[in-house]
């Protein structure tokens, strides 16, 4: 599981991005700016998902994986953007709920609950990462023993 310099740079960028997005979300909460914290949420999710596949080598499989993650993240951002834009809208209703509640409750909840797990199974399957990890889990402890 050795990791290339490019991968380390990618991980560095993701860690810094997560830190910045979390700070922006915190400012959004303290200053009561819905825009900042509504968009911080899908951004945090996106950064963490990209971090989780950051050490998969650059291959065709990686591009397929990134495609799946990009699609998921675009939908995720769209859900929160719609919820934000309809936050004060009392004219549009769905299943008896205001639009902002409905988009998260009726679409966001099943989307995150089901698609997240299925996407993990799909990515684990095409990346072969679980097989690789099984091979790497055997052996003695490798922390230096004096």
């Amino acid at each position: 599981m050795s990791v290339s310099v490019a991968t380390h740079r990618r991980i560095d960028a993701l860690v810094y991005s997560l830190t910045i997005v979390m700070i922006l979300g915190f400012i959004g909460m303290m200053a009561n700016i819905p825009f900042l914290i509504f968009l911080a949420l899908p951004a945090i999710i996106a950064v963490l998902l990209y971090l989780s596949v950051s050490d998969i080598p650059d291959t065709t499989r990686r591009r397929t994986i990134m495609g799946a993650l990009h699609t998921f993240n675009v939908i995720s951002v769209a859900l929160w953007l719609i919820a934000l834009l309809t936050l004060d809208n009392t004219d549009q209703w769905l299943a008896g709920l205001p639009a902002s509640t409905a988009v998260l409750f009726l679409f966001g909840w099943p989307f995150y609950s089901v698609v997240g797990g299925v996407m993990y199974a799909y990515i684990a399957s095409i990346s072969g990462i679980l097989k690789l990890q099984e091979e790497h889990s055997e052996g003695e402890p490798n922390v230096v023993v004096s």
Binding site: I11, L41, L51, P98, L104, Q133, H136, P141, N142
Partner: protein, 523 residues
């Protein structure tokens, strides 16, 4: 009414007897601390997935959430449960395979163990152990309060005595059977929760004339009950959502399950099963919370004096005795499944990690684990008797304590080579200190007046991540990067004799590495 109470008590006693029976069975199989702490690293995917969601879905999630939904409306579900199922997927993505690899290669049985192998610094391991003990007691407090309410209702005893009895039963089977008992009881408890949540949701919605009629009644009474920006500000709701969904990755009762897996291949469908299981059990608090509020609004019942009483009182007043009995049993299951995990986690942190960090080697580790389990339970009962927060907020304190301490040092630390032991130490101490401050400040300082939309748990998680990253960048060293490389370096071939020793003396490898790294650090 007497017949109804006898029926409820009978079913509850049968259930508790089954749990104690599993504790007895596990006790007979228990031969080492490896079996006590990580169930012998033998779990398959289904048991692991169901046990994962049931240890997360707690008295806080079902009973506390039903009360908060009744008080805050649908915003409470969006805040506390909406993103939780996705939290499982996120945890599987970020930690699943990596933790399984590290657990087997380094004999890591606990979260502080992970800190030891990642940072090789005694003080970081010691502080993570302290964070685990405090977080376990905090989270356990929410569970024993919930258990106390139900036991009080079942037996008609004073709350304080009920609380002690409820906690005592959980402690009994956990002390006897450790994590092996906790896992198998989690499986049964998870399946009970799923079944009862579906039934209770439809019964509760039917009571108000169906989903649309119930929502319409709430809208007529107060539109805030169904709005995202409603009883609680939208910003507060989203901050809470982040704490739950993202903070899930930092929950040791979930992290622990990855250390118990038989093989990484068992991970593939685990996140889906756990997420769907959790999502289904949210129907319980959604149904009971909205139906209870509906009944309050149409005058079917008076406002409950304590929101935490909503679920048990609603079930007894508005469902049949048989359904109430099974539903209350499901609530007990939710409470116990989390409590047993936290007792074991707190005990392991105290006996292995805290003592190890202090340089003390315990003989008869299994016996000490059991003593520590009893002490953690006693401490939670003591705290529960002195705090008067509602269950939901008590649980949030424990959840944030874990997430704040684990997000940076463990989650980011497994990926980021620039993470340092000093950064980990700063994140653990800083987030723990902030959490304690935010919890006690309103009772002590008059000047502490946060805005209405301030949600403490999110702030604790942000502080943990920011401290970890910033302090790590300020304290970079080649030695720290070497420690990161050690986590994944290709291991030397293992000899048959070494494998046999590791098999029969499970903590030997861990103790060896711990001592050697401590010596290095001291030099």
């Amino acid at each position: 009414m007497m017949d109804a109470q006898i029926m409820i008590i009978t079913i509850a006693v049968i259930y508790l007897g089954l749990m104690l029976g599993i504790g007895y069975w596990a006790n007979k199989r228990m031969k080492s601390s490896k079996e006590f702490l990580v169930a012998g690293q033998s779990l398959g995917f289904f048991v692991m997935a169901i046990a994962s969601f049931s240890s997360i879905q707690s008295g806080w999630g079902m009973m506390g959430m039903a009360g908060s939904t009744s008080t805050w409306g649908i915003g409470a579900i969006l805040a506390g449960a909406f993103l939780a199922p996705f939290g499982f997927a996120l945890t599987w993505f970020l930690l699943g395979g990596k933790l399984r690899v590290i657990a087997h290669r380094h004999q890591a049985y606990s979260v502080p163990d992970l800190v030891r192998v990642r940072y090789q610094k005694k003080s970081a391991q010691l502080w993570m152990a302290i964070a685990m003990i405090i977080g376990s007691i905090g989270y356990m407090t929410a569970q024993v309060v919930a258990a106390g309410f139900i036991t009080m209702l079942l037996l008609g005893l004073p709350f304080e005595l009920s609380l002690v009895i409820g906690a005592g039963i959980v402690a009994a089977y956990t002390v006897a059977g450790g994590m092996l008992a906790a896992i198998w009881t989690d499986l049964i408890q998870g399946l009970i929760m799923i079944a009862m949540s579906i039934v209770v949701f439809f019964v509760a919605m039917n009571l108000g004339g169906g989903w649309n009629a119930t929502i319409d009644t709430l809208w007529q009474a107060d539109s805030d009950f169904i709005a995202l920006d409603g009883v609680q500000p939208a910003v507060w709701v989203v901050a809470n959502t982040i704490m739950i969904g993202v903070g899930m990755i930092g929950q040791p009762q979930l992290v622990h399950k990855f250390l118990m897996l038989r093989s990484p291949r068992e991970l593939k469908w685990g996140a889906t099963v756990a997420a769907i299981g959790y999502g289904i059990t949210t129907l319980f608090s959604l149904g009971v919370g909205l139906a209870a509020r509906n009944q309050i609004e149409i005058g079917g019942v008076e406002e409950y004096s304590d929101p935490d009483n909503t679920a048990p009182l609603f079930l007894v007043e508005f469902t049949t005795p048989l359904l109430a009995a099974f539903a209350l049993t499901a609530l007990l299951a939710a409470i116990m499944s989390s409590a047993s995990s936290f007792i074991t986690i707190g005990a392991s942190a105290a006996t292995r990690d805290l003592m190890g960090g202090l340089g003390i080697t315990l003989k008869r580790e299994l016996t000490w684990n059991r003593i520590a389990s009893a002490v953690v339970t006693f401490a939670a009962v003591a705290v529960a008797l002195f705090l008067d927060q509602i269950i939901y907020l008590l649980g949030a304190i424990g959840w944030a304590a874990f997430a704040g301490a684990i997000m940076g040092p463990i989650v980011l630390g497994l990926y980021w080579r620039k993470g340092t032991s000093t950064g980990a130490l700063a994140a653990i101490i800083g987030s723990l200190g902030l959490n304690v401050f935010i919890t006690v400040a309103p009772r002590i300082f008059d000047w502490w007046q946060p805005p209405a939309q301030f949600f403490p748990g999110f702030s604790v998680i942000v502080s943990g991540v920011v401290l970890y990253v910033v302090v790590s960048l300020l304290t970079q060293s080649a030695a720290d990067q070497e420690k990161y490389e050690n986590l994944y370096r290709t291991p030397a071939p293992v000899s048959a004799s070494a494998a046999a020793i590791a098999e029969h003396i499970p903590s030997a490898g861990a103790d060896r590495t711990s001592r050697s790294t401590t010596q290095k650090e001291d030099q």
